[in-house]
Amino acid sequence: MSAITVADERVARVGVLKRLLLKPELGALLGAVLVFAFFAALSEVFRSASGIANWLDPASTLGIMAVAVALLMIGGHFDLSAGVQTGTAAITSGLLTTYYGVNTWAALLISLAVVLAIGFVNGYLVVRTGLPSFIITLGTFLMLQGLNLGVTKLVTNTVQINNFNQIIGYDVLHAIFASEIAIAGARFQIAILWWIAATILGSWLLLRTRFGNWIFAVGGDANAGRNVGVPVARTTISLFMITSFAAWFVGTTQITRLTSIQAQAGFGQELIYIVAAVIGGCLLTGGFGSAIGASVGALIFGMTSQGIVYAGWDADWFKFFLGAMLLLAVLANQYLRRFAELSRR
């Protein structure tokens, strides 16, 4: 593209390095390399094929959610109910199949419809009231938390739904959501593939489609977007529904893999998704970030959570590391961006 333009003497100041520094995911990529090097040096298992399969596993389901949550955050919103929605999806599918004998595929479609409806309500309330999504989704988060537990107890008299592997068509579900692929003697979860697919799809949406342009606009300055014809309400509601879809996918993965689901499944995960997205360079104020960054954030999470175990440390240290990483990432991103933007003037 640059071949057509006349050279401008001012262009020289914007070098390749600064261009790179403006990429939201750069800080996270550097961080991931450092974290990998650190644990790989400490533990041989960490860098073995089975070790890699082990830390890619928690990264994968988290990564799928983080990509969706990153899109939502770039669009200027939070979804505190994202974690608990994974539980809602799994519990709905589980109860419908194992307790009410509903056809497996119908049950999955119903649970998808349920969480998409929750996403729609989240988005609709945010758009209509103009209240911060933080408050709206805090409300749905608490409601769903109560519902998940209440309904599960009411139907099963326990806080767990079992025997998901006895439903008709479980083998097909297992192949899609929970099968393993052997590479170099290690068993890799298929969720890793879905995670990569989600990252590519998320990036493509964000950077290559009109919808992606609208996401940046809605998060950057919704009013400006509205004035030039961006469908702000539709974009916002879609983002909440995309997050809900991801929650359904991850919830279904979980119940298929474990063959059972706890009524509290997903509680507290919502913050981890946000942490991954922020480590990946998403601005809390919206309008800036990337899907790849969020994926790398999830990767850092996976490496750290397993690396601490391989290094032989107490797992309690994990939260400390995660918090430190979050702070570091935020500071680094802030610094890099300021540096890059100042030097552009």
């Binding site: 914007v14 342009n213 606009a217 300055d221 400006a224 014809g229 309008g287 933007e341 552009r344």
Partner: protein
Amino acid sequence: MTDAPLLEIKDVTKTFGSVISLNGISTTVRAGQVTCVLGDNGAGKSTLIKILSGVHQPDGGELLLDGRPVKLGSPRQALDAGIATVYQDLAMVPLMAIWRNFFLGSEPTKGWGPLRRFDRSRAIETTRRELADMGIDIRDPDQPVGTLSGGERQSVAIARAVHFGARLLILDEPTSALGVKQAGVVLRYIARARDRGLAVVLVTHNPHHAYPVGDRFLLLNRGRSLGDFAKGELSLPELTRMMAGGAELDQLAHELERGTGAVEREEAAS
């Protein structure tokens, strides 16, 4: 040039809560003509512009487009009717690249079905060309708009409206952040759009900018119309005088004179 007006504004009223922002405003906008809207701060100029561009809906009165009543329920509907606007706040997203802002809301696409995507190379090319046409050579279309200077930002917003304004181009104080040379470029741009047969609505504080390009002048004061004049009915000094409120201007000149006199006296005393 046909004589039938492109857009007729009839007795338009708009209130925000207890504030009457516009009260019974009427004027006509014709293809190939520039209608200037002039008035003090808070006179209601931006409110009128936002009604024409679909951001606000009038509480009373009506808009006739090609002689037929229209409801511009959203900026999208106005854009689809060929009305493009340069807002006073420019309506650009600071963190987004120039080319992304340029096509925001009207992105060109290529591909089909689920593979339909933003035609980035076309967007970047067009942005570069349109800005070069305006005499702005941007260093890098990928630069976030927030890092542009105020004047550059204004130029991008104007180039965008000129590109998308198929029938009616509305500019709300487009020259306020511009240097003398750039302001001249914008005025020439407006004249060129007019000569191409577009209708133009220009909001400005500056009678020296308005008078040379304007064909009609709508003067607003505190939400009311002070008059709607054709160019032949008004000279530049008259226009300037009316804008400043006539007698008020004389009073002001008097005050300023006395003011400097007082300062001089104080300086002499000390």
